[in-house]
């Protein structure tokens, strides 16, 4: 049988044709739109920096940087204005150090437990339970610090005042534990089994394998989680505002009320401070200080992880 040659070309007029011009235009449009959305993040950072710098420059035109860094009192809202930001920074430091002393050891040990010691069935509900702790709003922790922890501390520590840095620091530490635990656990989990097996093959106990092989291997991730936790502790607002008080004093005593940088910003924002006044500008100067501190920590963390990250094959 010979094939019949086609007498007419195939009629495609009633078939679906892709509208390639439209597709190309839509593609270009969508790509440009989404690129714009992504650029919003850059605009946000520029906005933050610009906002802070704008008002801070205005602030430093009235108050010298030297006064800002070296005066020993913080009384910008009183008649005798003093602008020693170190008062606020010392309070932030005090609460953060207490928080870190609680969160880092407990978080790291909890991470080790979750990844090494907990059986799979326990892990299934243990991890979500810690996630719940992470999801509690900070204002709830502030309530807990002021109305439960402080009265409890007042029973066991004589001389502790109603507002104090200790209870704020302790609760702040508890609120950061899930962060340290989950990030450290990710870092520990990433260490390959072969390293652990090697340690066991050399006769080490489980603890020795963890402390001398696994933890050093996961070090960059663990340190990154620590630095993120410190950054969170420094930038935290509600727990310290509610429980540590709003009495700026330059002290390292955790039993008295102090005012952190973030608590001061809240204090001024709650009041009626006219925009453009010196008091208004102080919150931006303090915000700038806070931003610089946390930015430095984040940059250090980024550098540290890149420098010390272990590359497994």
């Amino acid at each position: 049988m010979s094939a019949n040659p086609p007498s007419t070309p195939l009629d495609r007029s009633n078939l679906w044709k892709p509208n390639r011009t439209l597709n190309k235009r839509v593609e270009a449009g969508v790509k440009a739109l989404f690129a714009l959305f992504a650029f919003v993040s850059v605009v946000t950072t520029i906005g933050i920096v610009f906002t802070l710098i704008f008002e801070t420059v205005g602030f430093f035109q009235e108050v010298s940087l030297w006064r800002f860094l070296t005066e020993r009192q913080w009384t910008p809202l009183f008649a005798d204005k003093q602008f020693g930001v170190m008062v606020l920074v010392s309070a932030t430091l005090l609460t953060s150090v207490i928080a870190i002393a609680v969160a880092l050891p407990i978080g790291l040990l909890a991470a080790i437990c979750l990844s090494e010691y907990a059986p799979a069935k326990v892990r299934k509900w243990l991890k979500p339970a810690l996630e719940i702790l992470a999801g509690v709003p900070t204002v709830v922790f502030g309530y807990f610090a002021l109305l439960t922890v402080t009265p409890f501390l007042q029973k066991i520590i004589p001389g502790i005042q109603g507002f104090n840095a200790l209870s704020a620091g302790l609760v702040l530490g508890v609120s950061i534990i899930p962060l340290v635990a989950s990030l450290s656990e990710d870092a520990i989990y990433a260490v390959p089994r072969s390293l652990r097996d090697g340690a066991y093959a050399l006769g080490s106990t489980k603890r020795e394998a963890i402390t001398s092989v696994v933890l050093p291997a996961a070090l960059s991730g663990i340190v990154a989680s620590f630095i993120l936790a410190i950054s969170r502790a420094i930038g935290e607002t509600m727990i310290v505002t509610i429980a540590a008080g709003q009495n700026p004093q330059l002290t390292l005593n955790p039993l008295v009320p102090v005012e952190t940088m973030t608590a001061y910003i809240v204090q001024v924002s709650k009041g009626d401070t006219p925009a453009g006044s010196l008091a208004y500008r102080t919150i931006f100067a303090v915000g700038m200080t806070l931003f610089v501190i946390t930015l430095t920590l984040n940059i250090f963390s980024y550098w540290f992880v890149r420098r010390f990250r272990e590359k497994y094959e």
């Binding site: 597709n23 190309k24 839509v26 593609e27 790509k31 989404f34 959305f37 992504a38 650029f39 919003v40 993040s41 850059v42 946000t44 950072t45 906005g47 933050i48 906002t51 802070l52 008002e55 407990i106 040990l109 909890a110 010691y117 339970a129 810690l130 719940i132 702790l133 999801g135 709003p137 900070t138 204002v139 709830v140 922790f141 502030g142 309530y143 807990f144 002021l146 109305l147 439960t148 106990t205 603890r207 993120l228 950054s231 969170r232 420094i234 930038g235 607002t237 509600m238 505002t241 973030t262 910003i265 809240v266 924002s269 709650k270 931006f284 915000g287 806070l290 931003f291 946390t294 980024y302």
Partner: protein
């Protein structure tokens, strides 16, 4: 050459390294202590959480009743209610979701699917990583300057819209990161198949990739939104006051009205010296936690539903 007989090796050569604890039982004992310490650390967090929840429930449940949920704020603790903050929080939630979802998902799609590996992309990625770690109160300062003051004609000052825009910027990095992770989990072969059939990239994303990544994206977005609802500091800085005796107008005009939110009201009540207000705060916290619980449950339900449908 004969190999040395192991028995003849001088045992004096092998004096114990002082760092090496030869006693195996001591090492195992240390192991037990270490294990106990890790378990204690884990349980410590849970015990504190339990104490916190029990404490708040004990204080707040007696105060929770219909009138509490439907009254406005008041100078007397017994007649103060949580209606305005609850409605305010819901307004904020919906508005923030409507703005942040397209922005975040679009940016995530761009970074994951379209962006080439050049300086522009690296800049954006570094930015997002940085922004995720900025304290929330700084976003409040940004919102104060830009959304309350600078674009005052649009937002009309310290309003729901300004609050929603501030919260959007706050959670945008989180949404972008979770979107990228969800998109990354979709196998590349699907994309390649789409391109092989002559589809444009957007067609492939819209028809194939995005529906598969959607459960992960939705879960991440809802979790980010639940974080936004619990945020107090940025809202205080933009000036959400606590004594609001009206609800925002249920129309677009409502976006331009002053507002209050659950965390703000809780903060206000906790800061008062009278114990009756502390009870109110506990009840308010329960309402907030129920809202968060509902959101998280929705996230988990959505994820399960979409996963079983495939």
């Amino acid at each position: 050459m004969t190999s040395p007989n192991p028995q003849s090796v001088d045992s004096a050569q092998y004096k114990a390294n002082p760092n090496f604890n030869v006693s195996i039982s001591k090492r195992y004992n240390l192991d037990k202590v270490f294990t106990a310490a890790t378990w204690a650390a884990t349980l410590f967090g849970l015990i504190v959480l339990a104490v916190l929840l029990i404490d708040i429930l004990a204080d707040g449940i007696p105060r929770l009743n219909g009138s509490f949920l439907t009254s406005f704020s008041s100078r007397r603790a017994s007649s103060a209610g949580i209606l305005a903050p609850l409605v305010g929080s819901i307004w904020l939630l919906v508005t923030t979701a409507l703005i942040s979802f397209p922005l975040g998902v679009g940016a995530g799609i761009f970074l994951e699917e379209y962006a080439k590996d050049n300086w522009f992309t690296r800049l954006i990625e570094i930015n997002i990583a940085n922004l995720a770690a900025v304290p929330s109160i700084i976003y409040g300062l940004l919102g104060l300057q830009i959304f309350v003051r600078l674009i005052q004609p649009i937002t009309q000052g310290r309003t729901v819209l300004a609050g929603a825009l501030t919260l959007t910027l706050l959670i945008l990095p989180i949404i972008i990161i979770t979107t990228r992770e969800a998109l990354r989990a979709v196998p590349d072969s699907l994309r390649q198949a789409g391109f092989a059939l002559g589809a444009t990239r957007w067609q492939v994303i819209r028809e194939q990739i995005f529906p598969i990544a959607l459960p992960g994206i939705l879960t991440g977005t809802i979790l980010a939104l639940s974080r936004a609802i619990g945020e107090t500091a940025p809202l205080i800085v933009i000036g959400a006051v606590s004594y609001i005796a009206f609800l925002p107008d249920p129309s677009l005009k409502g976006l331009q009205s002053p507002f209050t939110a659950l965390p703000i009201q809780i903060f206000d009540w906790v800061s008062r010296p009278q114990p009756a207000f502390h009870t109110n705060a506990a009840a308010g916290i329960i309402v907030l936690m129920v809202l968060l619980l509902l959101m998280n449950a929705t996230a988990i339900l959505l994820r399960n539903k979409f996963q079983t449908n495939r």
